[in-house]
Amino acid sequence: MAPDTKHLEVTLDTHVESVNLAEEMCLRVAEAVGFNEDECYRIGMSVREGVINAFHYGNQEKPEKKIHLAIELTQDKMVIHVMDEGKGFQLTDVPDPLAEENLLSTSGRGIFLMRAFMDEFNVVPGRTGGAEIIMSKRFPLPGPASTNGNNRNSGSDAAPHQEA
């Protein structure tokens, strides 16, 4: 990790309330570093889908398993990691929700939404034994009309602490 990377990590219970908690946490960070409303929506939705994936498919809703959420703020982007304690999966095994035969499926759109809403998206074997979703969103370019006071460089109290 680069020395100027800020890092925040929490362990969540495998519980439906963790989905909202993770979304709210990431939204606060995203707002604090200057993402606009639309980008915050996309980041929040992606985190939500990542944690739903960990809760439902990864940990199979087993309460003894945990969901690990990490946020990194590098110089140019916000990186989000969602790790479960399941068996892992390959992206190539995930059905395409846009395929004609899957359009009326009642599930299976989470990965698609994360891919659509984030700049980078990948799934790798996680250190916790399951899958690790890694997704990122580049910071908005600083504009002259930024007047909302929540620019990434304005020193918000809500920014995560520097990792030791």
Partner: protein
Amino acid sequence: MPALFLTSRDDGPITLVDLSGRIALGEGSALLRKTIRDLLEGGRLKIVLNLGDVNYIDSSGIGELVSGFTAVRNRGGELKLLNLTRKVHDLLQITKLFTVFDVYSDEHTAVHSFK
């Protein structure tokens, strides 16, 4: 984050369901499922979901809309959508569901679209 609020009103054989809030896992999905199931059990087969005040739907909520659409169709009825917010419109568009649902932007047209 507000939960989902929902009220129903009848216009002849058509039931309009006004929704506001979020249709998401652990919030509105279960309520929407129960509402559609109750309507079907009550013989209401022509349903319009007014999503004008729904500004957030996640994949679970999308799944619930699709589930409701299929359940109503399987009973020989029709489920249509009314007044999509921009975010919901965009979500249905990127998931290609905009081509599946019958979507309207005014209530009069939606109500009179039933056979």
